[in-house]
Assembly symmetry: C2
């Protein structure tokens, strides 16, 4: 058997400890599949003395992770520190510059700097692998980049953030409000103390940018992703969604259109019968639609030490076997230069929920605003009567242009009888 693959591991949080644990627990099995043993021989982290539940005996310690990049005894560097810049970026750039392959779980780094890093890897003839950066243990990078390689992908969409999906699931099942469920999720460890990255959709947008680049064969473009989070999703809207036959999910959706690539992350109403509507709790799912394969869906755990380690180790096995794929599925010369399309040109149906004073003429004003913007109404739902008080009114539009809807919304929000900010949720067909 060939000599072991010697791994330098930067980052010893739960994921880093998970990688060490998996490589030790399944050492023989990994060696059989990789054709050689895979061993972490060096580590780097901020604090040398913390107990991480795995023994670091016999491993070389690097105070500076970047020093691993030039260490001739290391065959590959695994970066699980996180952060789009700082030491993670410095390490990855240094390793790729030195021609050393890198495996990373760092979605922010890959989404923001992935195009430049791919260029670097291409110049030095090495590879950057990032299966762990999207949807945890679900092998979705491999599926898009290799498994569906012959297809022209028209759409890729997914539930890409387990924290948001958990919160939305509990809100629906227990009819509770966002803030309340978020606080619980933080106590249970399903949400960070600072939850903004997750609940504002940024984490999902990082992952969507990566998926879109792979699916459509173009340089990763995080800045072009339209991002909305779930803070404004209310228990009331989740209840109305159920009444209309929908579930509310935070989706990342990227489409190849005639004008370019449209990529967006926002709460969506999806038909209850859609497979993705049934993916609940911390689970992630990704749907890809190809011209020959049709619709393929992959589902599994999108986070956590075990699933993330599973993805990192799969990348290491590929490297051990010399199975190399260009970072974005094709060489930089073969990537498309399709432009990004702005959210204004989005075309779809909308759910609009208002709180209005229950008095004559209100609906006439609202529907006039829609008409004036050229937005056609599909249905309307009004529950209960409370003359002189506030009642919810739900309007569902036919498919229309985002810019038209925004214009109508501005007028509607400004009406005296409309109290509270209206809730606008896009409807996404299965």
């Amino acid at each position: 058997m060939t000599k072991p693959l010697s791994v330098g591991l930067a980052g010893l949080g739960t994921v880093g400890a998970g990688v060490i644990g998996m490589l030790r627990t399944n050492a023989d099995l990994v060696a059989a599949r990789a054709g050689r043993r895979i061993e972490v021989t060096a580590v780097s982290a901020r604090n040398r003395d913390r107990d991480r539940g795995v023994s670091l005996d016999g491993l070389r310690w690097f105070d500076d992770p970047v020093a691993m990049a030039s260490d001739p005894a290391l065959d590959v560097v695994v970066e699980v520190m996180g952060g789009s810049d700082g030491p993670a970026r410095a390490l990855v750039e240094a390793a790729l510059s030195a021609g050393k392959p890198v495996v990373t779980a760092n979605k922010a780094l890959v989404a923001v700097h992935g195009a430049a890093l791919a260029g670097l890897a291409e110049r030095t003839g090495t590879t950057l692998a990032f299966e762990a950066a999207v949807a945890g243990g679900i092998p979705v990078i491999k599926a898009l980049r290799e498994g569906l390689a012959g297809n022209r992908i028209s759409r890729v969409a997914g539930i890409l953030n387990g924290t948001c999906n958990y919160i939305l699931t509990v809100m629906r099942e227990q009819k509770r409000d966002f803030a309340d469920v978020l606080a619980d999720a933080q106590r249970l460890g399903y949400a960070e103390a600072d939850p903004a990255f997750d609940i504002d959709g940024i984490d999902a947008a990082h992952k969507l940018a990566i998926l879109a680049a792979l699916a459509f064969g173009r340089p990763v473009a995080f800045d072009a992703v339209h991002v909305e989070g779930i803070r404004s999703v209310s228990a009331l809207d989740i209840a109305f969604a159920a009444e209309l036959g929908y579930r509310i999910k935070l989706l990342g959706i990227a489409r190849q259109t005639e004008d370019g690539v449209a990529a967006r992350v926002h709460p969506c109403m999806v038909p209850e019968s859609a497979p993705i509507a049934r993916v609940d709790g911390v689970f992630n799912a990704v749907v890809a639609e190809g011209d020959f394969v049709g619709r393929v869906m992959l589902e599994g755990r999108g986070a956590g030490a075990g699933p993330t380690a599973s993805a990192v180790v799969a990348d290491l096995v590929d490297i051990a076997r010399d199975r190399v794929t260009p970072v974005w599925g094709a060489g930089s010369g073969d990537l498309s230069n399709a432009p990004s399309v702005s959210m204004d040109s989005h075309f779809g149906a909308y759910y609009l929920r208002l709180m209005v004073m229950d008095r004559p003429g209100v609906i006439a004003d609202v529907t006039a605003a829609l008409r004036d913007a050229g937005v056609s109404l599909g249905s309307m739902l009004q529950r209960g009567r409370a003359p002189g008080e506030a009642v919810p009114v739900v309007l569902v539009t036919h498919e229309t242009r985002e810019s038209a809807m925004r214009s109508a919304l501005a007028h509607i929000s400004a009406l005296d009888s409309v109290i509270e900010t209206p809730a606008l949720i896009r409807i996404e067909p299965a």
Copy 2:
């Protein structure tokens, strides 16, 4: 760019024509992902003159597919003729012997002769790829062999035959009987004129044998798969299943147990809440459970020209990029020699539906037979009364050994008051 990968294609049915069509339609995209063009340059089929909807102009014609194996102008052979023996086997053996890589969609060939073919490929240093043999376009071979490579897989299960899933779905949705729906499916082209391979579970068993070999890293063992089809599933049992919160699916299930590998294909009752229960119509799905990744499910179209071509082309792209994996995920010396476990030792719950004469003492006789075999009863369901006539009785057992259940069933079938053959369906937890 490197010179094109020259492909010899044996078999020009819908799949063969689909491969040619996909490689032509997406030629530039495939070239970008493969790093070189991939071109079918030679073909072989039984009838040279049939119109297949794709032009064969400029392609070399082989009357004998086996002659492709030794043709120096061909880099790889694609075998989509089908059949576990005959010309398909002869061609694949000849190509592998000559050190030429083979891509096949032939599940029967891989399931029955896969161990020997892998040995051959290993000796000549070439590869046998068969993504298209299981679950059509869903990249499940790649997921198991590479994407989840670091995991110890405990269970792999799936809806592996679209014809059966279509028939069971229509039976449930339209409350119709098996024979009636099968006849419709044949008219619509969803079932073959001779449907035995599909509806008797053999096709699913071929695919399960392949999945089990990959999941557990052992030589493929088709003969060890316990196989039952769907001919005896009745509309009545589908209705009772719904009443009990289950759906009936033909599943292939393989588990790694302490005693060895248990592999079985048979109709199952699965909880309606299980993700796999929602996979309807011609769709396929595969669930794998790994020690680190947890549960991963892949879902998509399991058959048809487009999805199958997608899988074949993915394998060709891997070969064009020199991404090579041992046929069964590890070299033959690293495969496990875990024995196969017989169905007698299966342990699970059972649904038993009898048609009994509605007269005193019948239930006592039936429950006594269960007790005598050591089978513990979970619940009983009896609908309507019709003294002196036949009524259905449903019994659901607690988990018990298959051998005990078989012994109880023999006694119950022999009772005077039990008319018709009892329906026995295993209950599979989510």
